[in-house]
């Protein structure tokens, strides 16, 4: 299997889907000549031209509205919102229109759009550019929220998203674009709404998605050195939420930590913890814990930013503690 970056995998998925279906087109800010803020669409304007790689002004409401209207009339738009922070400006079109259209019109219409956008923090981008907002959208029935952690998942899930008939928020991560991994050759499509066990283990389940999966894997490595076997479940999708995979893992390990970027209260971890106790209460030996970012807007100063972001060490420490093996010393 060829190794490539997360960025390249996304690029290839877009390119292949554009080659396959002439109705697939891209739109967004700086996605043409500039190549995209994170260079995912680089070169595509040369290959497909400006009609299929539509450069827009800084009009997020317009972008998502355009995509939705085009999708209602037969096209398959894939919009890029430069970062998830800016999606707030276009949220009305996504939440009040796209997510409502199929149901509100009794199945007479559909809105097959994909909105790609990176989430996450970690480059001192401060309060307005470091947010993790995908759980807001996962709250909305009528939408899907997909969030891959690896290049292979990025490719397989983006291709599946483009072919799917529902409005989809496809969440990337600013710190994952250069992440490398193997990607299967040929047509690679993954089912939407299916979690993936990224590492098997016996003692505790670490549940994560997007970049936090890599933190969970690093924590699992560190825990292994202490003789603790951690299983890592990558949700890959916040809605549909594959709670079965999560629950069957917890039934085996009897312990769970949910790990994600962003804020704790009302975040994705709250939902997952609630689902676990609904479905596997008797299997739990300890309350489900959540490890997330601190409940503040992200500060600019490195000393504060570090303190605000979740850390692998925290996961290792809590897991060891939960399992009563924290005396080993971390």
């Amino acid at each position: 299997m060829p190794e490539m970056t997360y960025r390249q995998a996304l690029h290839d998925a877009l390119r292949e889907e554009m080659q396959r279906d002439p109705n697939v087109f891209l739109l967004g800010e700086e996605i043409g000549i500039f190549g995209g803020s994170y260079k995912v669409t680089e070169g595509l304007i040369d290959e497909f031209g400006p009609q299929r790689v539509l450069e827009t002004p800084i009009s997020e409401g317009g972008i998502i509205g355009l995509a939705t209207g085009a999708s209602m009339t037969g096209l398959r738009p894939v919009a890029e919102i430069m970062t998830i922070n800016f999606i707030v400006v276009g949220m009305d079109q996504l939440v009040n229109n796209a997510a409502k259209i199929p149901y509100m019109f009794g199945g007479e219409a559909k809105a097959p759009i994909v909105i790609r956008t990176p989430s996450g923090a970690g480059h001192q981008l401060a309060s307005q550019h470091s947010q993790v907002l995908e759980s807001w959208f996962a709250y909305v029935p009528g939408m899907y929220v997909i969030a891959p952690s690896t290049p292979a998942d990025a490719k397989g899930l983006l291709k599946a998203s483009i072919r799917d008939d529902n409005p989809i928020l496809f969440v990337e991560n600013v710190l994952l674009y250069n992440e490398k991994g193997e990607v299967p050759e040929g047509e690679h499509i993954l089912p939407l709404g299916k979690a993936d066990v990224k590492r098997e283990g016996e003692d505790i389940t670490l549940i994560a998605y997007s970049r936090a999966v890599h933190m969970a894997l690093a924590a699992a490595d560190a825990l292994a050195e202490q003789g603790i076997s951690a299983e890592v479940v990558d949700l890959r999708s916040l809605r549909p939420l594959d709670i079965e995979t999560v629950v069957s893992s917890v039934r085996k390990t009897n312990h769970a930590i949910v790990l994600h970027e962003g804020w704790k209260r009302y975040g994705a971890g709250a939902e997952i913890a609630a689902e676990i106790q609904e479905h596997a209460f008797d299997d739990l030996d300890h309350p489900v814990e959540r490890i997330t970012g601190a409940e503040v807007p992200l500060p600019y100063a490195t000393s504060l930013e570090r303190a605000a972001l979740p850390r692998v060490e925290d996961v290792v420490m809590r897991a060891a503690f939960i399992l009563g093996r924290d005396k080993v010393g971390v």
Binding site: E30, E55, I58, L125, A126, H129, E295, T302, L304
Partner: protein, 353 residues
């Protein structure tokens, strides 16, 4: 004052040789020049400090835009307000905030204007009525409606300067803002710092009609375009707009200028030609103003040297100060989040931690 500026990118402006009339004091003109040079050198140093990893995050600089900044901000009175966006280092310096506190913010230090919490995009100075730099494009604009309304509500003699970029004028918030300012006849002057690009997108590609100043008419305000490389023209236009604002008429001023460097420190600006950049650098606002002042015998070459020397010293002091200022202590992570929060706000400790 209404000047149509040629939008030929290799021909920066048409007002190069317009006669200049000064009625400011010598001191004032000297200080304007000194502040323009301060902004230039400050930004040079910011770039250097960014490459040395003293500054992080997104960092947008003002090189080339000095005439729009000094021309618009210098005429403001202490009681007037400013609302700006993320490319605002020069804006806060022009308002008189000491460079060392600005540099400390860029370094992410406790002595910064936002105590290291904001960084380059979020500078603030309440004492100078500088109401902040904001990072969401056009997101600062609606705030100006409220500031203007507040002035009217309190029946105060204040003017608000709202700064925005050309790219931001494509965002819905710009329409809501200008329309509401127009409806309520608010004392707000909107200055579009049109540096011809929003990231890599030219204004012709982001605006259906790139003559942004013409929108003034449709919002029932004075709309005008000015050569943003000529500080005195910007100043005169601003003075007229302030006069109108105090009589209940808002303005929309489009200043044509150019940013010499990329969109942010990280942008290599491959979407434009070196010839274009060269052409605009040839119309440099600092050199132009300096020539005007030389010809009018307001300053001498010696004055210029002295200004450069002082500015260099100030900028170096700012760096030294910033470097010596402490990083915010992590224990202060939750400071300033709420005012007087109830005890229930705090997260309970993990029970058995």
């Amino acid at each position: 004052m209404v000047k149509e500026v040629e939008r030929n990118r290799l021909q920066p402006h048409t007002t190069q040789n317009a006669p200049v009339e000064f009625h400011e004091s010598r001191q004032e003109l000297h200080d304007m020049l000194a502040q323009m040079i301060l902004i230039r050198h400050f930004e040079d140093k910011v770039y250097e400090m960014y490459t040395r990893a003293k500054i992080g995050g997104y960092c947008h600089m003002n090189h080339g835009e000095e005439a729009t900044i000094i021309g618009a901000i210098r005429p403001l009175r202490p009681q007037d307000w400013i609302i700006s966006f993320y490319r605002e280092h020069g804006h806060i310096l022009a308002r008189g905030t000491e460079p060392k506190y600005v540099m400390a913010e860029l370094f992410g230090r406790e002595d910064g204007v936002a105590r290291g919490r904001g960084g380059s995009m979020h500078l603030f100075d309440a004492s100078r009525r500088f109401l902040g730099g904001y990072g969401i494009v056009a997101g600062q604009m609606p705030l100006a409606i409220g500031v203007g309304y507040s002035t009217k509500y309190r029946d105060a003699d204040e003017v608000t300067l709202l700064l925005t970029g050309d790219g931001a004028m494509a965002n819905g918030a710009s329409h809501e803002t200008l329309n509401m300012i127009g409806i309520y006849h608010l004392p707000v002057i909107t200055l579009i710092v049109n540096n011809l690009y929003g990231m890599g997108t030219t204004v012709e590609r982001s605006a259906a009609n790139p003559d942004l100043w013409k929108r003034g008419e449709m919002y029932n305000m004075w709309g005008t375009q000015v050569d943003g490389m000529d500080v005195m023209q910007v100043r005169r236009t601003m003075e007229e707009a302030m006069d109108r604002a105090r009589h209940g008429q808002p303005s929309l001023i489009e200043a044509i200028t150019y940013r010499y460097r990329g969109h942010s420190v990280a942008d290599a600006a491959r979407y434009r030609t070196p010839e274009e950049v060269q052409a605009w650098r040839g119309a440099d606002p600092i050199e132009r103003f300096y020539r005007q002042l030389l010809e009018a015998e307001v300053v001498t070459e010696q004055d210029r040297q002295e200004i450069e020397r002082q500015v260099d010293a100030t900028v170096q002091q700012a760096v030294d100060f910033a470097d010596a200022s402490p990083q915010p202590d992590p224990s202060g992570l939750f400071d300033y989040l709420y005012v007087n929060p109830p005890p229930t706000l705090n997260e309970p400790e993990t029970p058995d931690a």
